[in-house]
Amino acid sequence: MQIFSKDKTYGFMKLSPVTLAISIILLLGSFTLMFTKGLNYGIDFSGGTLIQVQYAKPIALDTIREAISKSELFKDATVTHFGSSEEVVIRFLSSTASLEANLESSITQTLKDTGSFEIRRVDMVGPKVGDELRIKGLTALLISIGAILIYIAYRFEWRFAVSSVLALTHDIIIVIGAIILFNIDVNLDILAALLTILGYSLNDTIIIFDRVRESTHEAKEYNLNEVIDYSVSRTLSRTTLTSLTTLFVVATLFFFGGEIIKGFSFTLLVGIIIGTYSSIFIASPLLSRFGFNIRTYREKEIAKQKRRLEKEKLRAQFEKGIV
């Protein structure tokens, strides 16, 4: 079985003005969301308390809101359903530093008239910890992007590195836009998902770039756009196949993985789609726009090769004792 024609070369580069325009619109949209609505930090990063309660019967949120309105502890609390109408999450910004404070019993006491329930989860994060986690998370993101940049520049060329990192940043920003748009609480697991997308999207880009690098050596012409189109077309079935299998498993995670992991799998779902799109339509056109030139690249490679050969020759002569 095969999906794409075996030797047809598709004209991706012709589409690049359109796709770049689409990406710019998506990026602008994400930035607008970031600066207007902003990220909805969960308690991992903002600090605060989260209580997950499961009732025996479906429960109206107003019943709970009324019950907790009398208690000072739950000041400014938000109440939402969690996955089903029996399950409720109460969130508020305050947290207690006292080890002996019996939060569970105050919750039980406050909610005792709302029906029969079970407290399934209580998370409390102090404000200092939240700050620390946020800084650590950002550091992780920046350091890994930096390390990747260096690695690709070493293995390929700086234009490859810059293009792939820009494509990567593009993916992350658009995914963040989607996270804001769909009101997903940003907790540690979302950070993990973002870093996974980073790795995944890069994977895709590198496979294509690897093919570009290879074709550059073999191409009879010096037309970069043709080389890129050829390389993207040759890797297209791999790109599609891997994206589909990964999308399959992430979709099962999203639909069957349970409520707790929903934000995580949603982020991955969006990220894989955007990552695949950017590898094909953004990273390679960027390479061309940064002025990557096959002729000079090859000349450089040949010069490198020559230097190496000369060194080897010298060494051989030295070892033979001629010099």
Binding site: M1, M124, I206, V249, G258
Partner: protein, 525 residues
């Protein structure tokens, strides 16, 4: 028929297979022996806490120690001093007899990490900056040890107490099953368990109800409440005769009224101080103070040798039990504060396991059938590599004693999607060569060679991201990074070496019947 070629690739793969099967058996079948993967708190339920210490209090307690030392020394040597005071910043006293200054300075020199300044007869003692750091560092380590000791004796399954970062302590209690139990565990950790034997200020004790704390401090006294009756107050000399650091044992016992009490034993130094003090103070009161509450203040009838005492104070049996544990495991040098707490009910954990297993299995079936439909027998070979890959992840995690968390499960699910990627790349390369009419043997060997650079570069960059996740992530994020890294490394063995080895082994058979539609899902060009 010619026998298949056994190459080093196949051997490496078989060794990896044996490793994967062997070490994943304990986990998969939950055998009694062998190392298994432990489930994270988010999957099995339990209590996770990040604790910090109040470092100012650790400093204050060190100052108190220094003051106690000075008092003991001057009492012992009969050196007269007055207005011995202490605060977080400094300890100060006035030497009444200037002739003794040499003696006292010699003694002060022996105390490490302090700066002494004197203005005539007034001595001021401060801690050096390094000493302050050392004291805090020591207090954190001591807190980790103490909490671990207490929880070990509490009787929960697998408590884990570890230092995290420069000043935090991570406590994980998977065994907690109820809110009451959790409350008790937290109270046990929080207990300062600071036992002090203190002298009652006999001269002023009648003014205890009139005096403010500040006023008491000006006499070098403190006011503590009674443990049984909050209204009842005791005026005590602030610098204790001795404290719980000299305690060697504490046990629950029952008194004549069959009430639970705690019997404690002091070490030899404590016993000597206790004996000396009681000998000199017959007729006076001695207060037994635990965590700044006075449990009893009996009259000293005679010198008490042997170094043992009793705390009675209307404990319940459970309370007495917990107090004795806390005393035995030592006092906390500084109060503990709660920075982060996560409680996961066991039912929620079970739901999460169920949900992620469903995702794992359905994702697995989808990928496996997809590969067979698309690539034919080559898909089956890739699937074998995938299964071995999963087994290796399980085995490696079990061997490292890693914890499987919900994000870790997600990492495995994701690995399933990504692990076949290498084989997809290889198979595409093989197909390309078959299409231009290369022989099967050449297509396979050349295909692997062509695919290698892309796979290696892609894996290394993903690994870089995983390492960053591990280095800067906490808890669950770390778990995710671990499963993903192991998955990537294992896929290098299974997907690249393993499948190649299988092709090498089967090559003569493929060449005999080169039906490439069956083997690779396409016709040869």
């Amino acid at each position: 028929m010619r026998k298949g070629a056994v190459t080093y690739r196949l051997i490496v793969f078989l060794v990896a297979l044996l490793f994967g099967v062997g070490f994943s058996i304990p986990t998969l079948f939950q055998t009694d022996k062998g190392s298994k993967i432990t489930l994270g708190l988010d999957l099995q339920g339990g209590l996770h806490m990040l604790l910090g210490i109040e470092s100012e209090a650790a400093i204050a307690s060190q100052m108190k120690n220094i003051a106690s030392n000075i008092k003991f020394f001057t009492d012992d040597e009969n050196i007269l001093i007055d207005s011995l005071r202490m605060s977080e910043e400094r300890v100060s006293f006035e030497l009444l007899d200037p002739d003794e200054s040499k003696n006292i300075e010699k003694m002060l020199k022996k105390i490490e990490g302090i700066v002494v300044s004197n203005d005539g007869q007034i001595y001021q003692i401060k801690l050096t900056e390094e000493e302050r750091k050392r004291v805090i560092e020591y207090a954190i380590n001591q807190a980790v040890e103490t909490i671990r000791n207490r929880l070990d004796q509490f009787g929960l399954a697998e408590p884990s107490v570890a230092r995290q970062g420069a000043e935090n302590i991570l406590v994980e209690l998977p065994g907690i099953k109820s809110a009451q139990e959790e409350q008790r565990a937290r109270e046990l950790i929080a207990k300062a368990a600071h036992l002090q034997l203190m002298a009652v200020d006999e001269g002023r004790k009648d003014q205890a109800y009139k005096m403010s704390d500040k006023e008491a401090a000006s006499y070098g006294d403190v006011i503590y409440k009674d443990a049984r009756n909050e209204e009842h107050r005791h005026l005590l000399q602030a610098i204790p005769i001795l404290d719980g650091s000299m305690l060697t044992d504490a046990r629950v016992a029952f008194d004549q009224m069959n009430q639970p009490v705690i019997n404690f034993t002091l070490n030899s130094q404590g016993a000597k101080i206790f004996g000396d003090f009681t000998g000199k103070n017959v007729g006076n009161h001695l207060a037994i103070v635990l965590d700044e509450k006075v449990y009893s203040a009996p009259v000293i009838k005679e010198r008490i040798g042997g170094g043992s005492g009793q705390i009675s104070g209307g404990f319940s049996i459970q309370e007495a039990h917990d107090v004795a544990i806390a005393l035995r495991s030592g006092a906390l040098l500084a109060p503990i504060k709660l920075l982060e707490k996560r409680t996961i009910g066991p039912s929620l954990g079970a739901d999460s396991i169920k949900a992620s297993l469903v995702a794992l299995i359905s994702g697995f079936i989808a990928v496996v059938s997809f590969m067979i439909i698309y690539y034919g027998l080559a898909g089956i070979i890739a699937n074998i590599a995938l299964i071995v890959n999963i087994l290796i992840i399980i085995a490696a995690m079990a061997l490292f004693g890693a914890t499987l968390t919900l994000p870790g499960m997600a990492g495995i699910v994701l690995t399933i999607g990504m692990a076949v990627d290498a084989n997809v790349i290889i198979n595409e390369r093989i197909r390309e060569l078959l299409r231009i009419g290369a022989s099967v043997r050449k297509s396979v060997d050349q295909g692997y060679q062509n695919a290698l650079s892309a796979i290696i570069d892609a894996n290394i960059t993903t690994l870089i991201a995983a390492i960053a996740l591990y280095a800067y992530g906490t808890g669950p994020v770390k778990g995710f990074a671990v499963t993903m890294s192991i998955g990537i490394l294992a896929s290098m063995i299974t997907a690249i070496l393993g499948t190649h080895g299988i092709y090498n082994f089967l090559m003569s058979r493929i060449e005999k019947n080169p039906n490439t539609s069956l083997w690779f899902g396409i016709k040869r060009g």
